[in-house]
Amino acid sequence: MSFWDMLTSHTKVAGGSLPLEQITLPVAASSATTSSHSKCTWSSEERQLFKTASFITTCARKLEVGSLVKSNACWLFYKFFSIVQLEHYDEYVVAMTCLFLASKIEETPVKIRDVINVAHRTLHPREPPLQIDQTYSSLVDTLINFELLICRMLNFKLTYDYPHKYLLHYLKSLTEWMPAQHETEPYQRVAWSILNDCFSTKICIRNRPDQLALAACYLALESCDIKVYMQEHAEKPWWKVFIEDIRLSDISQLVAQILEMYENETAVTSFTVP
């Protein structure tokens, strides 16, 4: 019995058929299953947002600010563009500002100069570094103005209940429960990566943080073919232990969103590589 079988066992799927097909998918996702591998289901706007969020990720890594600042920056970025229209603002300036602002929110402020230099280097890798001149100082002014603009547009609601702490809790509880043989399995790292990747798309602002963390955990276990220990004998599925009111359809809907993101990411990157 596979992991998915076990989770959907209340439907008692017969041996031959794949229980995965039982899970209802959102329309966009199920049409993607039938279409070719490299087809991207994102609109051009979604693609642009995704690229810019990836830009935030790259800059965040170069600035060594850590996952929380990076996630916060992406969250601010998607929140901002859920209020305004993409074409009204330069998305890269917004992205830089979000990163700058997020570093302050998490109390690990990054120098504005570093943000600008790193962003410039990432966008124009072959150009010489920025000189401290008119262009540079107008960039500083822009960032400072945008910082307050973003604060105001988001009504100064600059933080939220991040899913990271939920995932940490779920993984820690699961690890303690699982037999030692699974300790070498990378499911924890996979789950953490999946969750971080979710901040590259609107998934991060659309879903409940605890459910998102659980879905990342679920998907990671499934990708590593790990079964939760003694689950067959348990009174309720393991995920009900973490979130009382979650349904399997919630998880599968989230998993479908995440898988769709990876599909699209492959399509976008393979498409743009010259």
Binding site: T33, T57, G66, I112, F156, Q188, W192
Partner: protein, 477 residues
């Protein structure tokens, strides 16, 4: 779905179940994680990375056109609601004919005349139904007087659904987020990045504290201001100062707080540093309530920003940097003592002085009382002389047994064993407040409990005008 799952597994290099191998193919290396496992390091790992193809598609010159967009039409800010007129408990003395606070003196001295009174001053008495409904619709406090023109304009649209944007526009129309809605009165103080004024809201007639943060910084808005706003924004607790509104202009960001008549320092000055022990208990409990809710707001900036050494725990004085909520609890213990005895517990002027005072009173720490202290190089100069701890009753003779027990639990050298706010609220010292006190709803006052009221402080002077010299700066700055 199954296909997608397969492809994800391929990318992760995890097709073989229970593979013990630690080598991941190219797919996973993009998600490579430090080896030390997630529990310790993941929060700072920052590994999830889509490597950007930076060559062509981003070179559209986005960094050359910087629209100086500062939208002034739709960004007006309002967030929280002005006071809803409930009696506040914070450090305000009970109505007492003998107490003349500086505030009331001032008001009768005619500053009132300078206020621009709203034209609809009598509105509260004859508020009509549509105003009430409108307030409800916009989730405004009941005692806010809406301009008549506003009601006339919006009342007919009552049955239409209200979008977030419309709500925001409506609130802006009422006057939230506008500098004109507040009258600046006296300057209360000036700090490194902000100036605090006493002010009055023209919307509610309530007194407010206006914290004006200057924005002429090279690094944009100060980090502390951003944290202050984002943390206080959703924090509504009877023992935490309420943020009513935020006003953003070109040069400054003004936070509108509820106005508190005096802080604890002024209160203690006013009663000649002799508080009744009943009031000490009340104030300490409220301090714990606020802390239990706020969960140590300033963390990483603690050591540089805090004004005085007197309330710093020894582990911080000895150079520890990974702070947790226990750092606040040491200060609570110090304040507990100060309220009861009228003088500060450890008024050190330098770090060395401060540590000496602590060790002299509570005894020189050992590895048993403060794990790891003897291996800390910072501790070396304090090894000798070895002080013995003084009994609590000698330190604070006014403490009863419960108070002494709570005091010693707050001033525990071992930060892991130091009592934190929530359990401290259930300490036997507070049993006179009843079992409900520790679990009051956040917005309720401790004075809502039966029989809880302020006592008259023995040292209370008939006039509150004479203030001693400022001993320490208020934490407001």
């Amino acid at each position: 779905m199954h296909e997608k799952m397969k492809r994800l597994k391929q990318r992760l290099g995890l097709r073989k179940p229970f593979s013990k191998s630690n080598t991941y193919d190219e797919g996973l290396s993009r998600y490579a994680i430090p080896e030390n496992g997630p529990a310790q390091n993941m929060l700072h790992a920052g590994f999830s990375d889509y490597t950007l193809n930076t060559s062509s598609q981003y070179e559209k010159g986005v960094l050359h056109e910087y629209p100086h967009v500062l939208d002034t039409t739709d960004t007006s800010k309002q967030s929280s609601h002005p006071l809803n007129g409930r009696p506040r408990e914070r450090l305000q003395s009970a109505p007492d004919p003998n107490s003349h606070s500086p505030l009331t003196d001032e008001d009768t001295n005619g500053t009132e005349a300078e206020f621009v009174s709203p034209s609809h001053i009598t509105f509260r008495q004859r508020r009509n139904l549509s105003e009430h409904d409108l307030s409800k619709r916009l989730s405004l406090p009941a005692d806010l007087r809406l301009p008549q023109t506003f009601i006339a304009k919006h009342a007919p649209k009552m049955n239409e659904p209200l979008s977030i944007r419309q709500r925001r526009a409506s609130l802006s129309e009422i006057g939230f987020g506008k500098v004109e809605s507040y009258t600046k009165l006296d300057k209360l103080g000036e700090g490194t990045y902000a100036t605090v004024y006493k002010g009055k809201s023209r919307l509610t007639d309530d007194l407010v504290a206006l914290k004006e943060i200057r924005l002429e910084h090279e690094e944009g808005a100060p980090c502390t201001a951003i944290r202050e706003v984002s943390l206080l924004r959703d924090l509504k607790h009877n023992n935490i100062v309420t943020l009513h509104d935020i006003i953003h202009t070109d040069k400054s960001l003004t936070l509108v707080f509820e106005y508190l008549e005096k802080d604890l320092k002024q209160y203690m000055d006013d009663c000649g540093n002799i508080m009744s022990m009943g009031n000490v208990k009340l104030f300490l409990f409220q301090l714990l309530r606020g802390l239990a809710r706020a969960k140590s707001i300033p963390t990483k900036t603690y050591s540089n920003e805090v004004v005085t050494l007197w309330y710093r725990p020894p582990e911080v004085l000895l150079g520890l940097t990974n702070y947790s909520s226990q750092i606040d609890m040491w200060g609570v213990g110090c304040i507990f003592f100060e309220m009861a005895s009228g003088s500060p517990l450890f008024p050190g002027s330098t770090i060395e002085d401060e540590l000496h005072l602590i060790f002299k009173t509570l005894g020189t720490p050992t590895d048993e009382t403060m794990p790891g202290v003897t291996s800390n190089p910072e501790f070396a100069p304090y090894r000798s002389p070895v002080y013995m701890p003084e009994p609590v009753v000698a330190i604070a003779p006014r403490f009863d047994l419960d108070a002494a027990d709570l005091f010693s639990k707050l001033l525990n050298y071992d930060k892991e064993k130091r009592m934190v706010a929530q359990p401290a609220m259930s300490h036997p010292y507070f049993k006179c407040f009843g079992s409900k006190a520790a679990h009051l709803p956040p917005e309720d006052s401790i004075f809502s409990l039966p029989g809880v009221r302020l006592e008259k402080d023995p040292g209370l002077r008939s006039s509150g005008i004479t203030h001693g010299g400022k001993r320490r700066q208020s934490m407001l700055f």
